[in-house]
Amino acid sequence: MKKFSWLLVILLATVPTLALAAGAVEGGSKQATNWSAIGMFVGFVALTLVITYWAAKRTASAADFYSAGGGITGFQNGLAIAGDYMSAASFLGISGLVYTSGYDGLIYSVGWLVGWPIVTFLIAEQLRNLGKFTFADVTSFRLGQTEIRILAACGSLVTVAFYLIAQMVGAGKLIQLLFGLDYWIAVVLVGGLMMIYVTFGGMKATTWVQIIKAVLLLSGATFMAGAVLYKFGFSPEALFTKATEVHPKKLAIMEPGSLISNPLSAISLGLALMFGTAGLPHILMRFFTVKDAQAARKSVFYATGFIGYFYILTFIIGFGAITLVSTDAAFLDGAILEKTKSGIAAIKGGSNMAAIHLANAVGGNLFLGFISAVAFATILAVVSGLALAGASSISHDLYGMVIKGGNANEQDEIRVSKIATLVLGVLAIILGIVFENQNVAFMVGLAFAIAASCNFPVLVMSIFWRGLTTRGAVIGGFLGLISAVVGVVLSPAVWEVTLGFAKGSAPIKLDNPALFSMALAFAGIWLFSILDRSKRAAMDRDGFNAQYVRSQTGIGAASATTH
């Protein structure tokens, strides 16, 4: 592992870069050099690089690379899944949403959680019993390998791409604010570290980065929510009373507000969030890192607990920020405060900074540094998970199964996935810079809509419906994928806000297309399957019994530790 020593060089090289860049903007910027944050961030990166080094020495086979050799326990995997799911967007975004609109933030939290029970009841165990490395292993179990793998790879890569761009842009903006770094340096740093974790350490390193990050994030958020409640004698009523007194919307923050204006939009977004979770490739991949179906099922249970607990904390944190941040001149922009007379609107750095300022308010500079470093670590961990899922889809599904027809040399396949990771990393950096000034919030919604309209229907139908045929899955899956993308482009968020057409001119009034794109996918899968009289279709249906027995009992399932 001589190659590895250059990692330390990179690490050492980033320290002065961080310090210099931070110092350079100090004069003109609102954000002072955040030394404790930089120190803790460097500490986190050093720790994760040591883990990557350790993991790299133990990553020899494809099973090590894609699924950490199946040696992760249910509890560890629960933390890792929670780590993959609790992005900086959900921590800073939801607490920021609670800060500006109160109750509306809770509606989002609920939506991001309710997909998990569905994953437990219908997907987790079956996935573990049928698959090996990617969810396409499951959908192609009895269906035509080539077509299904291509479909799954398209669904995965498009989902990963949109999610990744949104994370990169968010990362750049956030780090600019937190550390005082230039936007492009931040994006390059995130992309570079992500490439190191994934190419050297594979799933093992990625998993441990997720676990550490999840523990840090959960403990930081617990401390913050605890400190807020402590100030109000552990009485939520006292906290809410104070918040309604200082917030310009007064009592309106205690009920649903402007977030949901159109009921159909609300239902459509709800569908995307609920079923998108069960179609996210980087999440589905996590079920192959555990030993068996029982561990897979336990891991979702732990993950649901951690994620639910975390969202309840963000709600308290958002209200804490209303009472402690919007009333403290230190966190407010004087000029905006002068103009709007609202502490909420005047928050320095925008509403996404609510949780960060609250950290300063309750825990001082050192804790501010801790939370800033955790927010950065969060982005790193999430992009690593995404990159690994995208790379696996290219190397395992496209290269290994489609191009090499399942006869790929294992070492070649690993090499392809490392190259794919590097390409994805460079692409993510370039797109992150290109999209700097775009509104990217819709991209996460789009990623969920595609996962819900392409990956999820094909996956769930292949597991449960005997009548599914290759043709039906391919046509229905692509219908879902294409209609989701088209639906987003024609939605108000993109048509009016991003593309700049007149207000009210969007051809589709739904902000999220899942309602019709999911329906189209399921209808297409059903119709083209029942109309399918081909020889292949007969084979597809005949294979169902064997698949079903294995999905239920695990008999014949790939044992995770040996391949």
């Binding site: 109750y103 809770l106 509606i107 939290s109 609920v110 939506g111 959680l113 309710v114 998990w116 029970p117 569905i118 437990t120 009841f121 219908l122 165990e125 939520p236 009523e237 809410f240 009373t241 309604t244 009592l251 309106a252 205690m254 009920e255 649903p256 507000g257 949901i260 159109n262 009921p263 609300a266 239902i267 709800g270 609920m274 029982q294 099922r297 336990k298 979702v300 249970f301 649901t304 607990g305 639910g308 969202y311 309840i312 709600f315 019994n545 064997a546 079903y548 027995v549 294995r550 239920q552 009992t553 695990g554 008999i555 014949g556």
Partner: protein
Amino acid sequence: MSNLAQIERDPNYQELVRRRSSLGWMLSLIMLVIYFGFILLVAYAPKFLGIPLGSGVTTIGIPIGLSVIVLAFVLTGIYVRQANSSYDVLIRKIVEENRS
């Protein structure tokens, strides 16, 4: 899998499939009803969620929203408990009986 037909005839297997799928789909349906019930309240009856609890400012919407989160966790727990205590036992029996 040469003993496929044998497993399918196994009463333990039939019991496993029947119990697992009825519980899985039933809990999924409950989750759907709870969540979309909540979303429909948000969309069509926001004022209902804004009714204060007692004389304070805490509204009825807060416990309702939080209980959707807690219920999601509880339902998952019910499934996992059931699966750990009975499905795994059945699966072990099926594996034992059909070892060829």
